[in-house]
């Protein structure tokens, strides 16, 4: 399951982002996962839990924003909704090839970080 590798990359990215903020723990991490990215949100959350369980970020929460791909038919000039999990690239109404926009997101958006109070006190 590559979700564990993905979780590693998320943690690395987050830890880099808070590197200048002193010791502390991640509280929440918000990520965007596109439906064409081949990453399963549930598995990613389990992987995150397992990965952070032993370290300073134990108990942190990974919020996954699911980003569907938008499919547009240039012939009908309309967006074409699909049933979940269906990826068809041809228009169900006219058979034209649909244009796909988005859905390949795999981004760390935002995090919240709780600095260690004890440490702040000793440095104050």
């Amino acid at each position: 399951m590559h979700e564990l590798s993905i979780a590693h990359e998320i943690l690395r990215t987050c830890r880099q982002a808070v590197a200048g903020h002193g010791p502390g723990r991640l509280e929440t991490v918000r990520v965007a996962v596109g439906e064409l990215s081949a990453v399963e949100p549930d598995l990613l959350c389990f992987a995150w839990e397992a990965l952070t369980a032993e370290g300073p970020d134990a108990g942190s929460r990974l919020d996954v924003e699911w980003r569907p791909a938008r499919q547009h038919c240039p012939a009908c000039d309309a967006d074409k909704p699909r049933s979940a999990g269906s990826w068809l690239r041809v228009c169900p109404d006219c058979g034209a090839v649909l244009e796909v926009d988005g859905g390949d997101e795999l981004d760390v958006l935002q995090l919240t970080f709780v600095p260690d109070e004890k440490d702040e006190a000793t440095h104050a």
Binding site: M1, H2, S5, I6, E9, I10, R12, T13, C14, A17, V18, H21, E27, V31, L36, S37, A38, V39, G85, W87, L88, R89, V90, V97, L106, D107, V108, L109, Q110, L111, T112, F113, V114, P115
Partner: protein, 223 residues
């Protein structure tokens, strides 16, 4: 007080940077790079053996093999006189671009026309990782069942080429080739689908022809 920090970074930024580097180098060298993906045992290494037998007199070929364990696949290619390097992922279910970069440094292949990267046998995980290839190739053997494109849509949608393998076994299995064609066409209208058998040689000429076409197209776009 928790601090809120906007990160706004691609999760696979490190992989994407490495892939970009690899792509640039392959461009400069005029090497066509393909990333072969399938479930375990679909016939990736066997297709490469057949490809080498057909093309090695005309084109220079090198192979990177990705497996969880054993040098077996690289040895199979070396036995045909092809420079091959084995990446052992030690459990990981996919190759990433940094591993490929490191492998290429270690292998120090001579300049080649075609570089094949055989990914770890898996239809899901390798899909997310750009290896700097010109295109992905997904293999599906006729013994795996005709429902696979819709069950694993991501890779069939992303791979520019779908290769059906082991067509010599068609008389012995239930595999609706037309159903597979329809699924792949609707997931990937611009993609190519080839039917091959490394055993009988069926379709191997088409596959090698496609590689030569793409190589020529890449080189003429460069000049």
């Amino acid at each position: 007080m928790p601090e809120t920090i906007d990160v706004k970074q691609r999760i696979l930024a490190a992989n994407e940077a490495a892939a970009k580097l690899l792509r640039g180098r392959a461009e400069a060298n005029g090497t066509l790079v393909t990333n072969l993906i399938s479930s375990p045992g679909s016939g990736k290494t066997t297709l490469l053996e057949a490809t080498v037998r057909t093309l090695a007199s005309r084109l220079r070929v090198a192979v990177i093999e990705g497996d969880i364990a054993t040098e077996r696949d690289a040895e199979r290619l070396r036995a045909l006189g092809v420079p091959a390097h084995q990446i052992l992922t030690g459990g990981a279910c996919h190759l990433d671009a940094r591993q490929v970069d490191a492998a290429l440094q270690l292998a120090a292949f001579p300049l080649v026309d075609l570089l094949f990267i055989e990914n770890v046998g898996n239809l899901i995980c390798p899909t997310s990782y750009d290896l700097g290839e010109d295109f992905k190739v997904v293999l599906l053997s006729v013994t795996e069942g005709e429902d696979k494109p819709f069950k694993y849509p991501a890779i069939f949608a992303k791979a520019a080429v779908t290769v059906i393998t082991k067509s010599d076994l068609l008389p012995h299995v239930t595999f609706d080739l037309d159903a597979v064609r329809r699924q792949v066409a609707s997931l990937n209208p611009d993609g190519r689908l080839l039917v091959t058998s490394a055993r009988s040689g069926d379709g191997i000429g088409d596959w090698c022809g496609l590689l030569e076409e793409r190589l020529a197209a890449k080189r003429s776009a460069r000049t």
